[in-house]
């Protein structure tokens, strides 16, 4: 599978953005584009281990996507499933707030843009 960024688009179905990672100007252009997308609320999904994960952040200076560390994410989801409905997670985040507070501190994993296959989806409206 080829790396790249595909954006779901009204006119074209999807548009593929390709760039030369060796070319500094193109790297900057793509970096600015991804930063702008995230600012506009576009969700970017990357393929990891045969499934898809949502990108939490993009670090333009390093040209990498930041995602949740898959094993921790799986463990967190399993703990959530086991927890009775309506109860708070018992464990706290290392900052002292509940485990799933806004902007919670999770173990992260970074993926280089030029080696990752990603799909971008615009903000969604319930129909």
């Amino acid at each position: 599978m080829k790396a790249g960024l595909e954006i779901l688009n009204v006119g074209a179905g999807h548009r593929t953005v390709e760039f030369d990672p060796e070319n500094e100007a193109e790297r900057e252009r793509i970096g600015a584009m991804i930063t702008d997308m995230i600012k506009r609320g576009v969700s970017i999904f990357v393929e990891v281990g045969g499934s898809h994960v949502r990108v939490r952040r993009f670090l333009s200076q390093f040209h990498v996507y930041v995602i949740d560390e898959p094993e921790e994410r799986a463990a967190r989801e399993a703990a959530d499933e086991a927890r009775p409905r309506g109860t708070q997670a018992a464990a706290l985040c290392h900052c002292g707030r509940p485990k799933r507070h806004r902007g919670a501190h999770f173990k992260a994993k970074v993926l280089a843009v030029q080696r990752t296959r990603a799909v971008a989806v615009a903000r969604t409206a319930g129909g």
Binding site: V10, G11, V42, F45, A122, A125
Partner: protein, 261 residues
């Protein structure tokens, strides 16, 4: 000598519309609207994601149908002063109840007379038929090449069997690794979430999840993007963030016309 057949005029008009759409999308791309701009359609209104740029202008834009262009002809979307506040289904009565807010503040009663309007609509096959017709009508907004590109993209995201099912039937199944809920992804219909009953002998439909990137055409199952792009968005959200998928989607009961069953 003789007048051109009508179909030629239609064809010319369609080409112009497609060219207009294409030019608009290129302009949108150039100014950083990465997902493009939804195309307004005759006889229906766009409903867009609340934070979409120029949402109010695009939602207010109503292109009348040819028969509505005559002076004094009734229009389906004339009452823009009324705002839908809530809608629910009275299962026992077989009615859908819509609660609107609006009215004229200049009225001697202070606008209270029309401040709340309860609309009892029969959730019958008539509504489904109208949604179906409006969905067919929305095909004018889409590009065939875009749909084929999207289907190719979807085929790369799912198993061979699921891709084959989608090409042949317009739907495929995938079970969430996280929750065990099975989803039936359908083209131009909400995704059905199904789960086995406690005894394991049957399945039940939990909800019909309706969600569109950017927005949708009011009163139809059609989204601003081509149908398979909607399916791709459902699939990716389900795989990557199932909670968010349920939270963002409108959850219709299976009996509701909007569920598309």
């Amino acid at each position: 000598m003789s007048a051109k057949p009508e179909c030629h005029d239609d064809e010319r008009a369609r080409q112009t519309w497609a060219q207009f759409s294409s030019a608009l999308q290129e302009m949108a791309w150039a100014r950083g609207d990465w997902a493009g701009v939804p195309m307004p359609m005759e006889g229906t209104r766009l409903r867009l994601e609340p934070r979409w740029p120029n949402r109010e202008r695009l939602e207010a834009l109503y292109l009348p149908m040819p028969h509505e262009r005559k002076e004094g002809a009734p229009r389906r979307a004339d009452r823009t002063d009324l705002r839908l506040r809530n809608r629910w289904r009275a299962q026992r009565l077989g009615l859908s109840v819509s609660l609107y807010q609006g009215g004229d503040p200049e009225c001697p009663c202070g606008g209270l007379c029309a401040a709340v309007l309860l609309y009892l609509g029969s959730a019958s096959s008539g509504l489904r038929a109208r949604m179906l017709l409006d969905t067919i009508g929305a095909a004018r907004a889409w590009d065939l090449k875009a749909e084929i590109a999207a289907m190719g993209k979807l085929s790369a995201l799912v198993s061979d069997w699921a891709g084959r099912c989608y090409w042949l039937t317009g739907s495929f199944l995938e079970t969430s690794r996280r929750s065990g809920v099975t989803y039936i992804f359908r083209r131009l219909r909400p995704t059905l979430a199904i789960q086995a009953t406690a005894d394991g002998e049957n399945t039940k439909i939990l909800a019909a999840l309706c969600l569109h990137p950017i927005g949708y055409y009011d009163g139809s199952w059609a989204g601003a993007m081509v149908p398979t792009d909607d399916v791709i968005a459902h699939l990716l959200l389900m795989r990557a963030d199932e909670h968010r998928f349920w939270r963002q989607a409108n959850q219709h009961t299976p009996a509701a016309a909007e569920a598309g069953l």
